[in-house]
């Protein structure tokens, strides 16, 4: 399978130290429940879902998520971050088939 595509958004776009921003993490993933049947063959499509997502700010763990197949296809995960200064937000996502992806975004407070 091709590499998992991801996108991180910080809202609002401009923010200062001390403010709380929202982090949206999106990933392209089928999130197969393991209960769906292939329309043509009738065989059960094996479960395939993101099962762990770690958010790190400057390499320090901010939020760890264990996720399950009940999340929608192409999941979106939103958490908050209190901006303590400039740095890098890293998101590590991995699925139950062992595929993983790392994405980063710069945190650049104004003023």
């Amino acid at each position: 399978m091709a590499e998992m595509k991801t996108l991180i958004k910080i809202k609002p776009k401009t923010y200062a130290v001390g403010e709380i921003v929202k982090i949206d993490f999106m990933a392209m993933h089928p999130m197969e429940s393991g209960m769906r049947k292939d329309k043509d063959t009738g065989a059960i499509i094996p479960a395939h879902y993101i099962n762990e997502v770690n958010f790190l700010f400057n390499d320090k763990l901010l939020t760890k998520m264990i996720t399950w197949e009940s999340l929608s296809v192409n999941p979106v995960l939103t958490i908050s971050l209190k901006v303590s200064g400039a740095g890098t937000l890293k998101v590590l996502a991995k699925d139950n088939k062992g595929q993983s992806v790392e994405s980063t975004v710069a945190i650049t407070p104004k003023g």
Binding site: L7, K11, M26, M35, S72, N74
Partner: protein
Amino acid sequence: MRNFSICAALLSISLCGLLNADEQLSMSDSDKAMYAEMVENNPAAMDIADGEETFNRLIGEEAYAKMLGVKAKDLPKYIAGFPRFVKPAGKVVTLAQTLQMAMADRGQNVPKLESKEIVTMSAYVKSLANDQKTNIDVKANKQMKEMMALGQAVFEERRGGRGLSCNSCHSPDIVGSRLRMQPLPDLGAKETAAAGTWPAYRMTQSAMVTLDKRMQQCMKNALLAEIPLGSKEMVALEVYVTNKTKGNAIQIPGLKR
């Protein structure tokens, strides 16, 4: 009670068999607001990012503008006028078709209209025109006039086994009625913003879908003979439907049920 098949069935393409036929429910304003908020985190944004990468790798803005005979800085406004008559094509084409042309121009293998490359690139290129008003000009030349007339004819023709036409469900006197709890959209209404919001992410399909593909889905569901992508009739339908929302701002990608 626990043996729910989560969504297995929900994710299948047609949902018609699962509805609760006699319950007529509609969403509250706060529910609608929650859904509206979802537009901001539209998974199709990833398709668009993908399309941008593909477009820059395979074509590039300069070469694309040059092929179309416009300045790169005028591209957004020009893009907001599709489908339009394009000289190098010698006919009225959709945005997606111009990408096929640009690839042919560069001696590349031309992928199909429904290919991932063309779909994501056309979404990206259309997003360059975001906030521009749809400025299709159906009177610009005789080719456009002809396509507009053909589009209207196709829209109104009863081509289905059930004697339905697009107009049966999308005519001004029927829109707003509900078909199995789904309000029939007025393709010309600001709220529907039909043409300016496709390609859109369809939540029922968990995928980004183009306008022509969306229209094919209506054909399939209403048992109308399916018009092939890229055919003259399909381009004409796109002209006709796009013209209904002329003046509306383009907002790509849309988010639809």
